[in-house]
Symmetry: C2
Subunit: 174 residues, 2 copies
Amino acid sequence: MVDDQPFVIPTLHARDGDRILLHGSQASRMLRHLESGGAVCITVTLIDGLVLARSVFHHSVNYRSAAIYGRGEPIPASEQYAALEVFMERCLPGRWAEARLPNEVEMKQTTVVAVPIESASAKVRSGPPKDDAEDMAWPIWAGVLPLSLQPGAPIPDTQAIAGVELPDYLGRRG
Amino acid sequence: MVDDQPFVIPTLHARDGDRILLHGSQASRMLRHLESGGAVCITVTLIDGLVLARSVFHHSVNYRSAAIYGRGEPIPASEQYAALEVFMERCLPGRWAEARLPNEVEMKQTTVVAVPIESASAKVRSGPPKDDAEDMAWPIWAGVLPLSLQPGAPIPDTQAIAGVELPDYLGRRG
């Protein structure tokens, strides 16, 4: 929020107990806003399907959405490394144990901030369309077209090392 | 935005030339904010994949994201019906021609507002991980796990009429 203009930034998040961790470049305006205690709404929405009713009015979307309200809180320098490990483990469990870990220069360029969850709301719609009784004989297809985020075939880096196999945790996702 | 607390509402949108249409219940706090000229940021993000690098630092996400900044503008009552048709055609092309159209009571419960696009920004990441030269021999799998929103098998409403076929426009989506 700058003046009365709200800003939205797409970003990864990780839940850590009763707080949400956000991370990024040390230069990020969003992270500096949060480090100084700025207010924020963090929201995640999953689309589950399109709901086709007989009437235009009852068309809808199946989805699950959460919004969390709070204020940013800096994480002390001495806890940044551990916070980054928690962040990575939530996003891609198992990767931290194998990857080349952050060095001092990289840690200086990276910031993790916490947002303690002060309040939250969730919205969910699921199930079939709910048409009015008098529309049930309207002669068009009605129902749900399910939608979900699906993994495709993994694309190895062009400079992949021969013999290195796909990690189990990619198969375990979702 | 209420006081200094920003609010995020998941919602459908439709582009109509140089403006974005949003719709919902006449009682929606978001729509009343916009009808009175309130500031808004409308954002859409598509996730394209997880980017696994050799180093923790270079892990990333492939995505396409747009954020539009503007202020709401009411749409006159005489133009609400046409705006709703545009909205529906953008979301589900072909459905308006077949579905039971909105009646007077439904139109009174529905509001469509416009947000002229004043400014916008887009962020995109695509392609493989970009590791540092000295990490290229690190012996773990590196590459991209593609992710995309995919349709599942359509679920006909339990009270579907026998012989009514799935509309072409469901197959044409995406």
